[in-house]
Symmetry: C2
Subunit: 93 residues, 2 copies
Amino acid sequence: MDAKQFEKISRALSDPHRIEILQAFKNRKDCLQCTEVHDFIDLAQPSISHHLKQLVDADLLLPEKEGRNLKYRLNEPVLDNYIHFIQGFKTNL
Amino acid sequence: MDAKQFEKISRALSDPHRIEILQAFKNRKDCLQCTEVHDFIDLAQPSISHHLKQLVDADLLLPEKEGRNLKYRLNEPVLDNYIHFIQGFKTNL
DNA sequence: TAAAAACATCGAAATATTTAAATATATCTA
DNA sequence: TAGATATATTTAAATATTTCGATGTTTTTA
């Protein structure tokens, strides 16, 4: 992961609603539906669409179209790479 | 770490100059001086002061005053807590 | 003590982000 | 096929962030 991607992911992680969306994966076997997000976040539909787009653009969520619905999977390898980048800040001498 | 602190740290990490500052710790035994930052980042002094403040406010850097100089240490425990918060996004079922 | 050095703060301009209303598109169902 | 449902896009307003010049504070040094 390069610094540019790290920056983009960090920005995606720097909003309370987007954090809430990601936390919704904690108690879930796999996917999250767009509509479900609407249930637990008090924002207008275009705003939720905007936030999900940020997360997808940062490669944190992988969208899967199912008819007129959209399901999202968490991109765990990218999370791991992000964590690895942070570990690199640490002094190793 | 709560979501609010996670958000603040993420925001602190979402700027190319601040990432560059943190990366400077990689090849360093311990501290980083304010003046040194000025050497490798092409920004006016108030801008660098602003970015360092963001990092200190996010608790990522610990400032230590030494006369008229300021030294910074990386707050590794906070980095670890931040990483732990991210791990919590992962599905654990 | 006067000047220099290191860092912070204020104020303002440029730019980016968040939000929602209005509207568009795609898909499903009756 | 008409209407309903799910999601995206456009536009605009409100707010936040980044940057720098000017200036202030503190500490060192000549």
